[in-house]
Every structure is written in C-alpha cells, then in structure tokens.
C-alpha cells in the first residue's frame, strides 16, 4: 500500500508487510487485554505512523488474526488467539455473579434432584441399548 511505503521511506532497513504484521501481532499478544491502536503504536520499535498501524491491524482483521470491538470513538483490538480465552473469562464472571442474585434467576432453573440423576442414567442406558440393536 502506498501510505505504508511512504512512512517507511528513510528507514535503514525496509521491512516487509509480513514482518510488520507479525510485529503488531506480537505486541497485541503481549497486551494485558483489549488495547487501542495507539497503544500498539507506542510499543512498536521503530516509528510507524498511526495510519500504518491501523492499516496493518485492518489487514490482520481480514485474515481473522485479530478481532476488534468499538469502545466509544475508538476501536479496541485483541489478538484472535487470546479472544476466546478472554471471552471465556468474561462469561465465567457473568455466570458466577448473576447466578447468586435473586429469586428470578433461581426460579428459572431448578436443581437436578438425586432421583433425577438415577432416572437419567437409566434413560441413557435405555437409549444406548436401543441404538445398538
């Protein structure tokens, strides 16, 4: 891309697109959580323009190597390899905190009774037998 090339002119060594992408990805993976493009820009060695970082991030997004979410006026970026784990932690937190609250949630699902368990195991065995026949 032209703007990339423009910002790279004058550097002692001309870096390839692949190299830049892997650098950005490395910085994102070292991030404590979702971060902004300027956070990435500050931590990259070398003086890349903000627009360059944005371009690289967008390219990584197309390749599904990163994911992003809008927060106010800026995007927050997260390496795709971290996204699932990050989401799992958030989901866990939600389930743990909301489950403690109120009769509204408790009445929605009742506990599996001990006799339910026996009954279920018997039904499961029955279903398995039926399948083998």
């Amino acid at each position: 891309m032209d703007e990339d090339r423009g910002s790279l002119i004058g550097h002692p060594r001309k870096r390839g697109q692949g190299e830049l992408e892997s650098q950005v990805l490395e910085v994102l993976r070292s991030a404590p959580g979702p971060v902004t493009a300027s956070w990435v820009q500050q931590r990259l060695s070398g003086e890349l323009a903000y627009t360059t970082v944005m371009t690289i991030l967008s390219r990584l997004l197309v390749k599904q190597a990163v994911s992003r979410s809008r927060s106010g006026r800026v995007y927050l970026w997260l390496a795709a390899s971290d996204a699932a784990g990050f989401t799992a932690i958030r989901m866990r937190k939600l389930l743990d905190t909301e489950a403690d609250r109120g009769a509204a949630l408790a009445s929605f699902v009742s506990a599996l009774l001990p006799e339910d368990e026996q009954l279920l195991r018997a039904l499961l065995d029955g279903a398995a037998d039926g399948r083998e026949r």
Partner: protein
C-alpha cells in the same frame, strides 16, 4: 361493578390445571403460544383491576392529585370494602410495578453483559466455543443472537450429540423463546397465581427446541442422549439467566418425551380429550377474566364520569 372487580385477580387460579394439561397433551409449540397468550391477557386484566382499585384507594389519601369528586361516596360505594381494599390495592400495585421493573432490568442487564462479554467473537459465526472446563451451553438473544458453548460441554458430548445441542440452541434463538419467557415471567410478577403458566412455558420452550433439534439431527435418541448427558455433566452449575440447554429438574421428562414417538402438532385438540378440556377451561377462564375486567373498568369509568362535573 361490585365483586366482579376481584374476579380477574382470582381467575388466574385456573392457570394451574391449564398449565399441567397443556404441557402434557399439546405440541410444545402450541402449548408455549397458548399459555403465553393466556398469561399475558390474565396479567393485563389483573393489573387493570388493581389500577381501578388503586384509584378508589388513593381517593382516601388527603392531598392526592386526583379530582376531588373521585372520592365521592358513590365512587366508594362501587367497590365493596373500599377502605381496606383500596389501601391494599395501593400497596400491591406499587409492589407489582417495582417487581416488574426489577425483573426487566435484571434481564436486560444480563443480556447486555453477555453481549459485551462476546464482543471479540467474530461476527460471521453465531457459535462461540469458549475454553472453559465447566460445562455450559447458552443461547444469548440479541442481534445477532449467539450460542455459547464451553469446551467442557463440547468434550463431554459425541459429535452427533453436539449437533443436537447446537440445533437446540439455534431453535431458541430462531423462535425468540426469550420473549415468551420474559412475557410469562412478568405476568407471574403481576399475579403470582400465574406462576404455573410461567413454569409450563419454560418447560415447553425447552421441549420445542428439543423437537426441532431432533428434526435437524434426524434422530430422537441422539437428541435425548445429548440432553441427558449435558444435564449429568452440568448438574452442579449455578442457575443461568438464559434458556439453558440442560435446565435440570424437568430434564428426565424431556428425555423421556424424546424417547417416545413424536407428538404431531394438531391445530386444535378434540373437545372430548383432556387437552381439549384444558383448552376450553383456559378459554373460559381467560374470557371471564377479560369480561369482568372490562365490566369493572366501564362501571368505574361511568361512576367517575357521573361524579366529575364537566
């Protein structure tokens, strides 16, 4: 209007036999729709009557903003035991509105938090598999609706059972089951007599999703096994706020229903069958509730109009 004003508050008691019979004899889809409509209509009538009694009740409070004529003796005479009933209605209506708004806010908060938790999941897929050894599976309503399954759940199921699980959750999203659940939950906040309907709708939405999953997978036994296995591995998990795949308690009934032949979705059950009887009792109860609410509303409006000089 007389004692008829109390009928819509009491008539939801007919909900208990209706819920039982519909749950057992109707196709789950029909049961969900019928029971939701009944509970919404009964809840609206019940609230309307509470509102009418509220008007009479507040008329006794000095300095209330309602027209003075509304506390005329003839208005009070329209309701039996107006003093006690009026005061009780004020308290009950305030409680009902508070409970409803709390329930609604909690529901919305959980939805927003869930969508927020999933914001980094790519938008091109509705399925998010999260690395968590605790087994869980949820349908998170929203635009787009998402299915969240933990690796703990995925690992404990066979490949064909996973397909059943995902089909079940997709059915929850595609048929907007959360709307029925929310409507009946609010209705049972309005009138606790409607609670059996809420439980029956909660059970029937699960059955509905089970039936659709069985269609997608093409095997009722596989779906039954998926439900049973998911329930057994997740039995110690806290209660979720969404339509869960493995809602425990009614699970053995769901599994048993899947192991039985399919119930065909008849448009209306024959009148002599228990299901037909249930439907007729339901229709009669709802109609009586609606009529007496209407009667009470019109009567009070006429009394108030007569008392208000124009």
């Amino acid at each position: 209007m007389g004692v008829f004003v109390f009928l819509p508050l009491i008539l939801p008691l007919t909900a208990l036999p209706i819920a039982r019979l519909a749950e057992h004899h109707l196709h789950p889809r029909n049961a969900v729709r019928l029971l939701t409509w009944i509970s919404v209509i009964m809840a609206v009538c019940s609230t309307l009557c509470l509102g009418l009694l509220f008007v009479v009740g507040t008329a006794q409070i000095p300095g209330n903003p309602l027209p003075d004529n509304w506390s005329d003796p003839e208005v009070r005479a329209a309701v039996p035991f107006h003093e006690e009933v009026g005061t009780a209605a004020v308290i009950v209506l305030v409680t009902v509105l508070t409970t409803c708004s709390t329930t609604l806010r909690r529901h919305l908060r959980i939805r927003v938090r869930a969508q927020h938790a999933l914001e980094f999941v790519p938008r091109d897929t509705d399925l998010a598999v999260l690395p968590d050894e605790n087994p869980y599976a949820y349908a998170v309503p929203g635009t787009p609706g998402r299915i969240v399954v933990s690796t703990g759940m995925i690992d404990s199921l066979a490949a064909d059972e996973r397909r059943a699980l995902i089909a079940h959750e997709r059915s929850h999203l595609a048929n907007h089951h959360h709307r029925y659940l929310m409507a009946t939950r609010l209705a049972s906040c309005v009138n606790p007599f409607l609670r059996p309907l809420q439980q029956a709708v909660a059970y029937s939405t699960e059955r509905w999703a089970d039936e659709e999953a069985a269609h997608v997978v093409g095997d009722r036994r596989v779906t039954a096994r998926a439900v049973a296995r998911a329930a057994l591995v997740s039995r110690h998990l806290p209660a979720p706020g969404f339509a869960a795949f493995a809602a425990p308690g009614p699970v053995p009934r769901r599994v048993a229903a899947l192991l039985n032949p399919e119930v065909l979705p008849e448009t209306w059950p024959p009148a002599h069958s228990p299901a037909g009887l249930a439907a007729m009792v339901a229709a009669a109860g709802t109609a009586a509730s609606a009529l007496s609410a209407l009667n009470a509303a019109v009567a009070l409006l006429l009394v108030l109009k007569a008392a208000t000089p124009l």
